[in-house]
Amino acid sequence: MSDLTRISAAALAEKLTAKEVSSVEATQAHLDRIADVDGAIHAFLQVSGDAALATAADVDARRAAGESLHALAGVPIAVKDVVVTKGLETTAGSRILEGWIPPYDATLVERIKAAGLPILGKTNMDEFAMGSSTEHSAYGNTHNPWDLDRIPGGSGGGSAAAVAAYEAPLAIGTDTGGSIRQPAAVTGTVGVKPTYGGVSRYGLIALASSLDQAGPVTRTVLDSALLHELIGGHDPRDSTSIDEPLPALVAAAQQGAKADLTGVRVGVIRELQGEGYQPGVLARFEESLELLRGAGAQIVEVSCPHFTYALAAYYLILPAEASSNLAKFDGMRFGLRVVPEDNPTAERVMSATRGQGFGDEVKRRIILGTYALSAGYYDAYYGSAQKVRTLIQRDFTAAFEAADVLVSPTAPTTAFKLGEKLDDPLAMYLNDVATIPANLAGVPGLSLPSGLSDDGLPVGFQVLAPAKADDRLYRVGAALEALLENEWGGPLLLKAPELEVAR
């Protein structure tokens, strides 16, 4: 077991800068780890070892030549398969894109490549990011490194599991209703959904355009800040991208690590606790609040009454947008094409391709969304949902007058067993009850590990901040991380069982 896979991205970056290790060594160590454990975890859909090593060798050569490099240059990274990567198969977890090699890079991938981070491969996910367990992937389940019989969360279960299993120090996730934060919570890792518009969506295969946001998946808060600063910032190719500089995120994380929160007002959202939340989840949440109080934070209770309707509104807006975004998958220009034997008109090819190419959950949401947008139903469904969305935004605005950050458990429960909720979509949807409001309002959110529940599985703690104040997430997140690790005597992941090594 190589040490290089166990240390944080920040620590690895320091070793690379100091030339204690090469990027080729660090990248090879992670590729070896993938070879060792990914048979059991199945975090990766594609491993791009040769390309990663080529990037690593290039970075090593540039470093040797004295070139000034990005702080994370040479640190390997995994990318969720919903993000398009030039020349590297991108499927979004769907059969309908099997074998599709994109001819272009997402903006965030361009930035990763420009900074010299070797891309280890593409991570598994629920098909088109629809799900909370990664069980809706067309390419098989990903297993939670804490317990291989359990889900790694979703939709970005692959990225979270890869980071938790030391297969990658950094990963990219996307979060439409919690797909970064909920997997982080159930795998004992850190995940951040930036402010909507904070990271370019250009090159993310869209699920719901008004909700989607890419962000970092890491093992430490500081690592997330480093990655967030790399991928974030204005992109003229995304009209919804914020045309302002990012706040100083790394500096906020470093300040937070000093664990002094004097004067910081932390608002506890009344509606995101109690019924439906596992007792162990609530207990860890309360303990974390005490630690924050101990660090000087002022804990206040806030009410966001319309959060009760968030899930219902979300499951109208998301399917509506998705039904339109997914229309382009029709077998005409790229990806799977199914040609029926009898009378293969364009319409019949489209129908056959979509019938075979999409999984059940995708079809369910396309049907829901098509219905919600239909003439005569639009006002009652999509229209009403947008009104609820406005009310939720107002709830946030009011709450942020009373508090600098808001907090809640990230997910109501720890990781459930594979298959447990597969036949009960509503139960599955409820996993995201605490994460969805941030997407509806466009505000940023972070999840970090806050301990183990009674079942010995990780629990996540969510921090929410006002739009464009992502720095607050990092300050409070890093403070709580420092306080908790002080209690635990190290990162929570040290308590995870060692995985069997295949070799």
Binding site: A106, Y202, S239, F329, D330, A346, E347, A375, Y378
Partner: protein
């Protein structure tokens, strides 16, 4: 199947109401939502980016120039410009629509509530009320292979070219046009023509009908009297020439009158125009029309044109075609009919430039509406497409005015210019066509002609000037037309001492 009613008969019993939707492709450098070139005639599927192909992950960005052009059109049509407006998605599956939705403006157009005055053939003015002008993107182009006439029916397979997908369009929708009565077909044609001229004057589009830069959908309904409620309308799609617009309205009036005469109700439907037969045929019935499931485009933010910018655009609008035509007609002294011919031939700019190059208005008109119009007609091209510039025509006329060539030689010089031999001066020198202005050779030719026709010479000497033409003709022939006939006459009369 009801029979057609003669148009003149139909309009005695029915009142026609029309409505016209005109799509114009904007002449921007790039497409509506991406950086692909918005050109014409490129190899199929080369003017594309991930955005115009609708590849997964791609996102639209609004072309600011297209918004400016749309505002220009809106202002020229006396519309209000929206303080804020949005794009929406019009969802429908068709292979030429790469995303399977068209990004278009739906309930929030950039320009609304305007009007435009249309000049009819007799010089009278008809005001058309504008409902809205909105922005959208064009679709790709399907080619069906293996069937008859390139139609999808019976085709073995189809090809799609996405070069046109994403070209910016502005769609202009009229309010129902009432009060045109029997002249509705003419109003429809004149309206589309007026818009075409407007687009060119505004420099927002080349507006070439034959390239499909301007396309019209024509709605027609008829009713017993102007006071009756509106009848059921049909929409005839993609009528792509002025003449066809007029014919399509006439045809629909005749057809609908026949249907109503038989006591049958008009079906609200989309109809297709058949240029070859001059008829429309039933397309899809509107009651089965797809539900487009419009909703606001979440990948774009609302457009809120700054008021100062709108005013800047307004201040920068060029003189509009109608006003300009009135001014030029006055300056050039053309009769109404002459001016109309010039306008209809698309020769206003050509004549203007020719005049600027030194020709008189009468001479400029003579060239463009005479010799050049005939040549263009023979070659079945537009005047502007002839390989001669208005400046060259001006130069040609100057050679005539300076007496260096006569009209006949001028036509030969023009022939040379059209053949690509260069400017008029170059052609004149190269072909050796200059008028012989040296009297010596002319006198020699006169003497020779007189000697060759002694009878005529005698008559002239005796004071009978009737046959001088025969001598002049002989001289012209001898000098291969390069003599100034007037000068030959002068010299001849001097020579015989009369």
């Amino acid at each position: 199947m009801s029979t057609l009613v003669d148009y003149d008969d139909a309009v005695t019993r029915y009142d026609t109401v029309i409505g016209i939707e005109v799509h114009v492709e904007l002449g921007t450098v790039t497409k509506m939502f991406d950086g692909a070139p918005a050109g014409f005639g490129e190899e199929p599927n080369t003017s594309v980016t991930p955005v115009s192909l609708g590849l997964p992950g791609s996102l639209p960005v609004v072309n600011g120039k297209a918004v400016e052009y749309a505002i220009r059109i809106g202002l020229a049509l006396n519309c209000s410009i929206a303080e804020t407006c949005r794009f929406a998605r019009k969802n429908y599956f068709y292979p030429d629509v790469p995303k399977n939705f068209q990004t278009s403006q739906y309930d929030e157009p950039i320009a609304y509530e305007g009007w435009v005055d249309v000049e009819l053939d007799d010089g009278s003015i008809f005001r058309v009320e504008i409902e809205r002008a909105h922005m959208e993107e064009d679709a790709g182009k399907n080619t069906h292979i293996g069937g008859s006439d390139g139609r999808i029916h019976g085709a073995e397979y189809s090809l799609v070219d996405y070069n046109r997908a994403g070209i910016p369009l502005v769609e202009i929708v009229t309010k129902p046009i009432t009060g045109a009565g029997a002249r509705a077909p003419e109003v429809a044609r004149a309206y589309v023509q007026t818009l075409r001229d407007l687009f060119r004057a505004l420099e927002v589009s080349e507006a070439r009908m034959e390239r499909g830069n301007v396309r019209a959908d024509v709605n027609v309904s008829i009713r017993p009297t102007p006071n009756s409620p509106l009848g059921t309308r049909t929409e005839t799609k993609n009528v792509n020439s002025f003449r066809s617009v007029e014919r399509a309205v006439r045809y629909e009036v005749s057809r609908q009158a026949g249907v109503l005469d038989d006591g049958i109700a008009i079906i609200q439907e989309t109809r297709h125009w058949h240029e070859d037969t001059g008829t429309t045929a039933s397309g899809r019935v509107k009651s089965d029309a797809e539900d487009y499931r419009y909703f606001p485009e979440p990948d774009l933010v609302p457009i809120a044109p700054d008021r100062a910018w709108v005013e800047e655009i307004r201040a920068g609008l060029p003189e509009l075609p109608a006003a300009r035509r009135r001014r030029l007609q006055g300056e050039w002294g053309y009769a109404d009919a002459e001016m109309r011919d010039v306008v209809n031939a698309g020769a206003v700019e050509l004549i203007e430039t020719t005049i600027a190059a030194g020709a008189s208005p009468a001479a400029a008109r003579k060239w463009w509406m005479g010799e050049l119009a005939r040549t263009a007609k023979q070659q079945e091209i537009e005047l502007a497409e002839l390989p001669v510039t208005p400046t060259q025509v001006g130069q040609l006329q100057k050679l005539v005015d300076d007496g260096r060539i006569n009209d006949k030689l001028a036509r030969q010089v023009l022939e040379g210019v059209l053949a690509g031999e260069g400017d008029p001066e170059t052609v004149l020198v190269a072909r050796g066509l200059e008028v012989v202005s040296d009297d010596g050779p002319l006198l020699e030719a006169i003497d020779a002609a007189l000697a060759a026709q002694p009878d005529i010479a005698e008559k002239i000497r005796s004071g009978n000037l009737g046959p001088v033409g025969a001598i002049i003709g002989a001289v012209m022939k001898a000098t291969r037309g390069q003599a100034d006939a007037g000068r030959v006459r002068e010299l001849l009369l001097e020579r015989i001492g009369s």
